[in-house]
């Protein structure tokens, strides 16, 4: 585990904001429509058109920036970032350069399995910009041309740039997971990586201790990672590759220009990409078509008030109020706000957070996974599950019997009591249970004798018989009652 180098990672995340219309025009942002059916003179850059900012996109950006603990400057503006690419019809992207809408924030990360110490990842800035179109090239068909679909042009993106604060691919993955969870809780993006709603680029290099002191390897930007797992793997590969290249060539930061590598998922390697000529020279200047935005204290306070309870705070609350482990609270909170609300209701209904968490993790989550549904579609209400757990806790059902009842509740939509009645499970009240135990003791004098000689284990045989007579008996209770009765006899 002890590597001869430290890995330095910073991440740039682009999230598509959950607006209905584009950032500067009224075209739909819907994913998957036929190519070039969601464009207009504004988003395909016709001369003489004027962009007008989508209020919702600005509000969602502000909300995210506040949740990321960013400073919100009271004045922000938009700039033109110029480069020529076929998927960018205007020849420039409207983005933010020197006065972004937020800066200097942080996102705390931790690992419930303690792979790394909890830490804060700094956020350099989060700014609002427009997306480009999509170019498609069918290499297999050997066609000369690329096809351009401009439906995505002008879709609002929030670019979130972290400080190079991550020291391992695992930390990078944890940062992305926490960021995505936060964005889900804020309902600012659907974060669907397959549909490109969340894109990740990484900057990575190594700090190596040498006899001549610490040196840094050239920074490489890694692109084309289509899942968090791919990010983790690509960064692991890239760190190893940089160390090998350094051993071979001794090249340090500054010896060669920054390069871009693409992750090849099939081959599980990163490959150098052609860099856009002079691409670093974007010649930003303020976009004269858009007026600045002056954010007020009141707007910021309104954004803050709209955040709701966020994942980190929720984890702490569940651990403290319901006495569950950080691992358990992490699993529940990672399922989303609906699940947390469901859990709280179950825990309150049965009066005990621990079994509530266990039942949800072992039984409910399995069903949700098998059926590929969310908790909102789960057929047993929180109240009903709480009631069932209460019955198990009171000893009226064994856990395994409880599972059967839950299956019945799920199938029939009945309450716990109704399901039990339907399954022919009657509650055994204490006196009935005592009668049953007495009957067993009378029928088994040898066992009673053994217990009296001190062999308490002998009771085990009676529990088996009790279960045969009535499958709903609680074994622990049968043992207790039998021992009590024998004691009394003595």
């Amino acid at each position: 585990m002890n590597k001869p180098y430290t890995t330095i990672i910073g991440l740039e995340v682009h999230v598509q904001l959950a607006t209905r219309s584009k950032l500067f025009c009224s075209c739909s942002t819907r994913f998957g429509s036929p190519p070039n059916t969601q464009t207009c003179p504004v988003c395909i850059g016709m001369p003489g058109t004027l962009p007008v900012m989508n209020r919702k996109a600005f509000e969602l950006s502000l909300k995210t920036a506040v949740a990321l603990n960013c400073e919100i400057p009271r004045f922000t503006k938009w700039d033109r970032k110029q480069y020529y690419y076929p998927d960018l019809p205007k020849g420039y992207q409207i983005s933010q350069f020197d006065l972004p809408l937020s800066q200097n924030g942080y996102l705390p990360i931790s690992d419930s399995k303690n792979q790394f110490e909890p830490k804060r990842i700094g956020i350099i800035r989060a700014h609002l910009e427009e997306d480009a179109g999509k170019s498609m090239h069918d290499e297999a068909a050997g066609v000369a041309d690329s096809r351009i679909d401009l439906n995505r042009c002008g879709t609002p993106l929030l670019e979130i740039v972290s400080e190079p604060d991550m020291r391992s691919p695992a930390e990078a993955k944890a940062y992305l997971t926490e960021l995505k969870l936060l964005l889900n809780y804020l309902e600012v993006s659907d974060c669907n990586m397959q549909e490109g709603s969340l894109r990740v680029d990484a900057n990575i290099n190594l700090h190596i201790d040498t006899p001549e002191g610490k040196i840094a390897t050239p920074i490489v930007e890694v692109k084309n990672m289509n899942s968090f797992r791919a990010v983790e793997r690509a960064l692991e590969y890239e760190a190893k590759r940089q160390y090998e290249v350094w051993q071979e060539t001794g090249r340090k930061l500054g010896d060669v220009p920054k390069s871009t590598h693409g992750w090849d998922e099939q081959a599980q390697v990163t490959r150098e990409q052609r860099s856009k000529e002079e691409s670093s020279d974007y010649r930003y200047f303020p976009d004269p078509d858009l007026v600045p935005v002056a954010t007020t204290d009141e707007q910021i306070e309104r954004a803050r008030a709209s955040l709701g309870e966020l994942p980190a705070a929720l984890r702490t609350r569940l651990e403290q109020t319901y006495n569950i482990t950080p691992y358990d609270s992490d699993v529940l909170v990672n399922q989303g706000r609906d699940m947390v609300e469901y859990y709280i209701e179950v825990a309150d209904a049965c009066g005990d957070g621990k079994p509530a968490s266990n039942w949800i993790q072992q039984d409910v989550l399995r069903t949700l996974g098998e059926r590929q549904i969310g908790i909102a579609q789960y057929g047993v209400s929180a109240k009903a599950l709480g009631e069932l757990i209460g019955l198990v806790k009171a000893g009226k059902l064994t856990t395994s019997r409880g599972r059967e009842v839950l299956a019945e509740m799920l199938a029939s939509g009945k309450s716990a009591e109704e399901a039990m009645k339907g399954m022919g499970i009657e509650h055994l009240d204490e006196s009935a249970l005592e009668d049953l135990c007495r009957e067993l003791l009378n029928a088994n004098p040898r066992i009673v004798a053994e217990v009296k000689e001190g062999k308490q284990k002998a009771i085990g045989a009676l529990i088996g018989q009790a279960k045969k007579k009535n499958p709903n008996v609680n074994p622990a209770r049968v043992r207790e009652i039998c021992l009590e009765l024998i004691e009394k006899e003595n």
Partner: protein
């Protein structure tokens, strides 16, 4: 000269404009003239004047997040030099080396 021939060459590359040697000389002169003329602005006393981000003294112009009909695809593609039924066609865009 406020702008060098090398700078003009670089800017023409960024702007995807191909100039002959003659044209480069001419552009360098003309751009220099323009920049020299703009230098006149430097003579204005701006002591104590706050910089502006926009020529208009207004801010916060927004529209509501409402979808309106987009262009018909035929209309959108009508002006494209090369196209197929659905897309604009451009010379191959390839990412890797």
């Amino acid at each position: 000269m406020p702008i060098s021939r090398e700078q003009v060459e670089k800017v023409s590359l960024l702007g995807r404009l191909l100039f002959s040697d003659n044209e480069l000389d001419k552009m360098t002169c003309q751009l220099s003239d323009i920049l020299e003329y703009m230098d006149l602005l430097a003579e204005v006393d701006t002591e104590g004047v706050e910089p502006m981000a926009h020529a208009l003294d207004i801010s916060d112009v927004f529209r509501d997040d409402e979808v309106r009909p987009s262009l018909d695809r035929e209309a959108a593609l009508a002006g494209a030099p090369h196209r197929d039924d659905e897309c604009y066609l451009v010379p191959a865009v390839l990412g890797e080396l």
